[in-house]
């Protein structure tokens, strides 16, 4: 078991998410930064969708009760194993009684803890990702115990990975969304000329952006939305839907982030700036 001594700001159990129930209103969920999950699991030689912990802003303190191998990724959160600093994208053995804790947030916003063979967590509708009310809890709490397989020996093919500095990347690649064409010429230009800053309203459901691109009064019938869909509210505000975002919406869908850009945005916090890049 992995014992949660402190939960951190917002730590959740995630895999790649649940896809097959979108038509019944169930969000995809899953890791916000899929690239980080994929890389961590690759180093551990896990399937890419093995269950990891997603650690937001302030990390938890975790006690390992069995030996295994771990790998961190995503945000840089000054992690230490038994008070010794450890780095992202490197496989570390952990022994029974080892304590993983986190310090200052250095870069990015969401860190990931991968473990050899993945965490063992209740599978609900095809995914272990926490999402209320499908799962009992929406994040992990102090005192929780999370199961994993004890692993005595593992000889990774790759012990570490150099990852380009996407945490500082401010460019989000987008394609036009289905309603892009309803925008005025000026609004279209603004979308690609302006820098947008992340509002305080940012979470696993959606990222709101501060700068507005002009009001509109276009109404449309409710239609499907995806993680990475950029909606335009009547007041001219942009809302980027994320992994726990609603499955349908009635606001014009003006842009669609690429998968990679969803990972980049997932590493942004309130006040960070981004810009949209076509294609």
């Amino acid at each position: 078991m992995l014992k949660v001594l402190k939960s951190g700001f917002y730590t959740t159990v995630q895999d790649k998410g649940r896809f097959a129930w979108k038509h019944k209103g169930v969000p995809v969920s899953g890791t916000m930064d899929d690239m980080a999950r994929h890389r961590v699991n690759t180093l551990l030689e896990n399937p890419s969708d093995a269950t990891v912990l997603e650690i937001t802003m302030t990390g938890p303190t975790l006690l390992f009760e069995q030996q295994t191998y771990i790998c961190l990724g995503g945000a840089e959160l000054s992690a230490t194993l038994n008070n010794e600093p450890i780095e992202n994208y490197r496989v570390y053995p952990v022994a029974q009684g080892d304590i993983l804790s986190y310090g200052r947030l250095e870069k990015g916003f969401r860190g990931y803890l991968g473990i050899k063979e993945g965490f063992v967590f209740a599978n609900v509708l095809g995914s272990t990702s926490q999402y209320i009310p499908l799962t009992n809890k929406q994040c992990i709490k102090e005192g929780d115990e999370i199961e994993y397989y004890p692993i005595r020996s593992f000889d990774p093919k790759l012990t570490n990975l150099k990852v380009g500095d996407y945490l500082e990347n401010q460019e989000l690649r987008v394609n036009p969304g289905p309603e892009f064409g309803i925008l005025t010429q000026k609004q279209q230009e603004q979308l690609f000329d302006l820098r947008f800053s992340v509002s305080k309203e940012n979470n696993r459901m959606a990222y709101q952006l501060e700068e507005k691109i002009g009001e509109h009064s276009i109404t449309m019938l409710t239609s499907a939305t995806l993680p990475g869909t950029v909606q335009l509210t009547p007041a001219g505000k942009l809302i980027v839907l994320m992994k726990d975002g609603q499955t349908t919406g009635g606001y014009p869908r003006i842009l669609q982030l690429t998968k990679e850009s969803i990972s980049i945005l997932a590493q942004k916090k309130a006040g960070d700036t981004i810009r949209f890049i076509y294609g």
Binding site: F19, A20, W21, K22, H23, K24, G25, V26, V124, L125, P133, L134, N175, G177, P178, M220, L221, T222, S223, A224, L226, G228, T229, Q246, T247, T248, G249, R253, Q256, L257, T258, K259
Partner: protein, 241 residues
């Protein structure tokens, strides 16, 4: 056959759109085409029908848009065997008790009718499920009679109980889970709209119809117990489209 368009929706999805109207003939055409697609598409595709659109989402890999668009248009244009579209009419019990219908009296007053008349109007219509989204098991229902249209509450409630039945604007519906909400609450439905203990957590499909049936408080209490132990069986009538 309707004039339809097929657009890319990011690099993982395709959006098929029918004329922008709330129209049962359009919805039926979409559901019929979706049933056909289920027989030809690989399992990696997830389909989300809603009002005048059908979104096809590719779960795990990219696809080549242009070729796929042509294929979809070809399938849509091809003469298809008539699908015996099985649509259901669900009779959902609602208890219009004042304990549950927190805004029942004020809503009746706003509409200048009695509570009995409001319940009578709400239960004498069939509503069509045009979309499911927003929350797991939340239905967007069409067909609210004009004489039940009301403004939403001036200030939304932070907590609306699961099963609450609301009225707002041209919409009526059921909150599938405890959530904040601004609709006028007129009753409560004891049947869970999303239940993980069932093989099919949400028994309702887009295209189905709903009729609300008034029940007494005692029946409501009984149905809540049935729901808790998972033996509820909502009444269903199979309709031919």
């Amino acid at each position: 056959m309707f004039p339809i368009t097929v657009k890319p929706f990011g690099d993982t999805a395709i959006l098929m759109e029918w004329p922008q109207k709330v129209d049962e003939a359009i919805l039926n055409d979409i559901i019929g085409f979706q049933e056909f697609l289920k027989t030809v598409l690989e399992a990696k595709w997830v389909m989300v029908p809603s009002y005048n659109s059908l979104t096809l989402i590719c779960q795990n890999s990219d696809f080549e848009f242009t070729g796929f668009k042509d294929k979809l248009l070809e399938w849509y244009a091809a003469p298809r065997a008539e699908f015996s579209l099985k649509r259901n009419l669900w009779k959902l019990p609602v208890c219009y008790d004042l304990d549950f219908g927190l805004d029942l009296e004020t809503t009746a007053q706003k509409l200048v009718i009695s509570v009995e008349e409001l319940v009578q109007r709400h239960t004498s219509h069939r509503y069509t499920v045009y979309s499911i989204g927003f929350l797991p098991g939340f239905m967007y229902l069409g067909g609210l009679p004009k004489n039940l249209e009301t403004k939403r509450r001036a200030s939304p409630r932070l907590h609306v109980a699961k099963g609450s039945v609301g009225l707002a604007g041209k919409q009526t519906g059921i909150y599938p889970q405890d959530s904040p909400g601004g609709w006028n609450i007129i009753g409560r439905c004891p049947v869970p709209m999303f239940n993980l203990n069932r093989k099919e957590p949400c028994f309702i499909n887009v295209g189905d119809q709903i009729q609300f049936v008034p029940i007494e408080r005692a029946t409501f209490d009984l149905k809540i117990i049935e729901a808790e132990v998972g033996i509820y069986q909502p009444e269903k009538i199979v309709l031919d489209a």
